[in-house]
Symmetry: C2
Amino acid sequence: MARAGGKANLNDVAKQAGVSLATASRVLNGSARTVGAELQERVREVAARLDYSPSGPAQAMARGATNVIGLVVPDIADPYFSTTAAGIMHEAEPHGMIITLSSTQRRSEREAEYIASLRRQRARGVILVGSRTTDSRHEADLRAEVEAFTAAGGRVAAISQHRLPADTVLVENRAGARALAETLVGLGYRRFAVLAGPSDLVTARDRLAGFREGLRRAGITLDSADVIPGEFTRDGGYAAATALLDEDRDVECVFAVNDVMAVGAVAAFRDRGLNLPDDLAVAGFDDIVSLRDIWPPLTTVRVPLEQLGREALKFVLDEPGDGSRVRRFRGEVVVRASTPALG
Amino acid sequence: MARAGGKANLNDVAKQAGVSLATASRVLNGSARTVGAELQERVREVAARLDYSPSGPAQAMARGATNVIGLVVPDIADPYFSTTAAGIMHEAEPHGMIITLSSTQRRSEREAEYIASLRRQRARGVILVGSRTTDSRHEADLRAEVEAFTAAGGRVAAISQHRLPADTVLVENRAGARALAETLVGLGYRRFAVLAGPSDLVTARDRLAGFREGLRRAGITLDSADVIPGEFTRDGGYAAATALLDEDRDVECVFAVNDVMAVGAVAAFRDRGLNLPDDLAVAGFDDIVSLRDIWPPLTTVRVPLEQLGREALKFVLDEPGDGSRVRRFRGEVVVRASTPALG
DNA sequence: AGCATGGCGGAAAGAGCTTTCCCGGTCTTG
DNA sequence: CAAGACCGGGAAAGCTCTTTCCGCCATGCT
């Protein structure tokens, strides 16, 4: 509580150095104004001796700005988001920015709340990662908060999510999924099923749509019974895969719209006694590094997660900040053992 | 820059509501002092209308305390740390605490720096996760910063790391590794190798020591050539495993001191054409959830990562904060397919 | 010698809150 | 009915800095 507890403030430093507050401040900030060498030395020496630590909150007030960037993710334990976060932090460091982290536990209705909190903190910017967009009530709240934040002079960037009045970093999910479908068809697969993730997640929807497009070009259509929705998590993938098996469809290759689900699906198939990849091929999306060692290694679409984060941070830090710029990243299809070429 | 940009402050609210600053503040904080119902309503109404957002920095100044808790981890992209972080955030939420995240990129010499930054932010507390302890020069810096932070009234908690003047949450690495060794011996294994991780990491050292103890009880000793140091990462595990293979030792079971390394080792063995688990058994430590689906499923020691985080946060939030309390968690051996019973 | 410059240091005005202290009016109570 | 206890409200101090505005003194010029 008594955060002041015996610690020296700038006033103490100034007094002990026998200079004014203004001078002390100037010395310690390397201000434009010149200060005599002798005084500089004296001030610095005293500051060091008193173990002076400038008050962030006070500086923020006086300067009218903080160095805080807020990061809002659905689930920090998910490797997709933690990798993206790593990219952001990497970029933030050299700029002296402080990252505050909020995890919505995949309850996107909390995003608005967190942005409001960030506004209270007077954060410079917010980076929003991959939220949903269809629940119109919550979306309205979210838009309102984003606008309020922007109106207050803050900058907002979004990753993997359209429709927000903010600079946006996008993955070309559609194109990536389309290319993946074409590749799989090229490998000889004809009968597909898709573990489609949550239907209110743009990312999931786009990947499904792109995949469909790719198949259609090859004259293949996806029966609606072959599209299994579910959670965007490992367990969601497991459940969807189990459901698929229960329907007993005739399928050669399963596309899970993200790697995490794909891993769950692989586990489910194995639990049911299937021998992968011979009995069934599986493909994912994202190319999550920590999942590269599962067996069989997943065919997937590589997404430059860290770069997504870095670009988003650049958006937040860049001066201009006109209306809403967009930066797109292509995914690259990576074929691995989980989808061997057919006969 | 101009973060003030047109936004209303408490003064504006007070004026428009026709009350004093003090009253407005009291209403908005639900202060102990009672305020007439009518005024309350008026103030709230105006605040809402002006979209008033109290300034965090200003509140921090006036109150002499922030709601910031700093979290310092080696690498947020590592599932060990991201899971722990999730536990912390989970617990932090209901307390209205704000988490700021710093990732040292496994360069522990930066920890001191980050703590200093947190002190400047006037953070209430710091949670330090799993750093090294042997480099005496950096350790001295770190201790100094921790003490300075504490002297300034902040609270420090450490996870998986002794020797710091702070409340500590520990995993019983030694006992866990010992139990694991005994279990493996019970399964019939006799010839072991250990991928030991970095020698300056207490966690790694304790696990190795515990494993050795367990073996010794069974009359087995570990040749120093059977202990391969390396990085605490997937690639470190891969490299160490490769090195082990190159030495061509006669080994039945490899213990990697954490799961992430174990996964790297599994990949290395497979790349060398070994058929797991028949040709070689592998065990890990931590029971990282996102790694549960690798093949073969890893025998490991389960560590309650989220709980570690939660307890650490409790330490930071709890009133008392005497000297340095310690909370220990046992690990639980989990046998899976990667170490089948022998013969 | 007289005056305009420039350099350097200080006083003071905020920045936006919380909280203590004070005061006038009510309500209670003997 | 007077007096003390309360209650609700406001004025103002204080938290720790940054930055503008002033003023002093020493130069440099003419």
